[in-house]
Symmetry: C2
Subunit: 237 residues, 2 copies
């Protein structure tokens, strides 16, 4: 992994390549693409790991399919970073620690926890991408919407989790607690990233360009959407 | 996983759906598709595991790309099994033990062993598929050729292994030994499968329909192609 010097050089190059009136990559767009790319690459590895917890081959393959979709998304975002004349590995590097820490603190203990993590994580990520898409230049925005249109692999999770709760109602309490922990850890790492990456925080908090207000309000929105997903699973938020 | 009774029922149904003059699925074609599908699904999981051994993010992503390609192949073969009116999970079930045993006995100790396994395994699998394609009905044959046309992700392996040998020539001996073990374990499990699955063995050994002769001669051919790949890596076969 290259040091911050090389990263800065690439950011400058990207800034030089920008067109007038278009938001400059150094304003946080490359940061945003970097965190999304690394989160998707990591989701690919974690979903594949969690798939190994499945007893049924069909369940294993269903989670593998979600993983392969994440990898496809990663490839799209990585290509977009390259189009902005930046090095994907250097753009991702600042976010490795936060994303890895999230996953290290939320390793599922069993198949059901893995399913809930896949569904909750996929959902929050999609909401986040949809929200930030409004901040991006037109080609990047189109890319984000393309990536989102391709999700929906998580439908089978709802069926599996509901069946598990029907078979043993005690499961619901444990999984609801687990989902709350996932959200807490995700927001904790997000806050850490926002504190460390000033251009990214500025982009997310820019009232003149978006409806977000500040990061706190964005979290509140994400939490509302999360509550709706919990209800779909049959869990209290 | 369903028992052999259910599997037999599906095979009969598939046999009923066959057209006159076309090879019947129960003659071993479903067996062949089942072992290929399960080998690809497992390759997806193993390559992803092995990718975790990479230090560089770019290397990790390159192996993840090979894994995602394997999953795409698995999806194609699985769809073909469904077209033959069979249940993919039941068709794969008889081969789970042999494929899992191969991987349990060949877990790479480090990143280089993982790379060699990806390259050698991918290569032998492709040769095997190319050879057996001649035994299949036209649509299945087209599918196998499509799957093969999509390989070639392994090129970066040659570069990495050659660079590692250049940096430390002692590595060559260890990796050559490792590759020999991989081939030995693969053929050992293949022989076990052929002994257990009589229709599959009959299909592979049918002199009137192919150039293979017998399984021993097929192994000899695969070994020749393997030797060429070892030379590409800079290893003695």
């Amino acid at each position: 992994m290259a040091g911050p010097g090389l990263y800065a050089a690439h950011v400058t190059e990207a800034a030089q390549a920008r067109e007038p009136g278009r938001r400059a990559p150094e304003d946080g767009v490359l940061d945003l693409l970097g965190i999304v790319a690394y989160a998707q690459l990591t989701a690919f590895f974690r979903l594949t790991d969690d798939a190994a917890l499945a007893v049924e081959l069909a369940d294993k393959a269903a989670l593998a399919e979600m993983a392969a979709a994440e990898f496809g998304h990663f490839q799209l975002v990585r290509r977009r970073i390259e189009e902005l004349h930046a090095d994907p590995w250097q753009v991702m590097a600042p976010f490795v620690a936060a994303v890895d820490a999230f996953h290290a603190r939320t390793a599922p203990a069993d198949w059901l926890e893995g399913l809930v993590k896949a569904y909750v994580g996929d959902g929050i990520a999609a909401d986040f991408y949809r929200t930030v898409a409004t901040l991006l230049d037109a080609p990047t925005q189109a890319l984000v919407l393309e990536v989102l249109a391709d999700t929906g692999h998580a439908e089978f999770v709802i069926e599996r989790v509901r069946a598990a709760i029907a078979a043993d109602p005690k499961v619901a309490g444990r999984l609801a607690l687990w989902a709350r922990r996932l959200v807490g850890e995700a927001f904790g790492q997000a806050q850490r990233v926002a504190a460390e990456r000033e251009p990214l925080a500025r982009l997310l908090a820019d009232d003149s360009r978006n409806q977000l207000g500040d990061i706190g309000r964005m979290f509140a929105r994400l939490t509302d959407a999360h509550a709706a997903r919990m209800a779909a699973l049959g869990l209290s938020p």
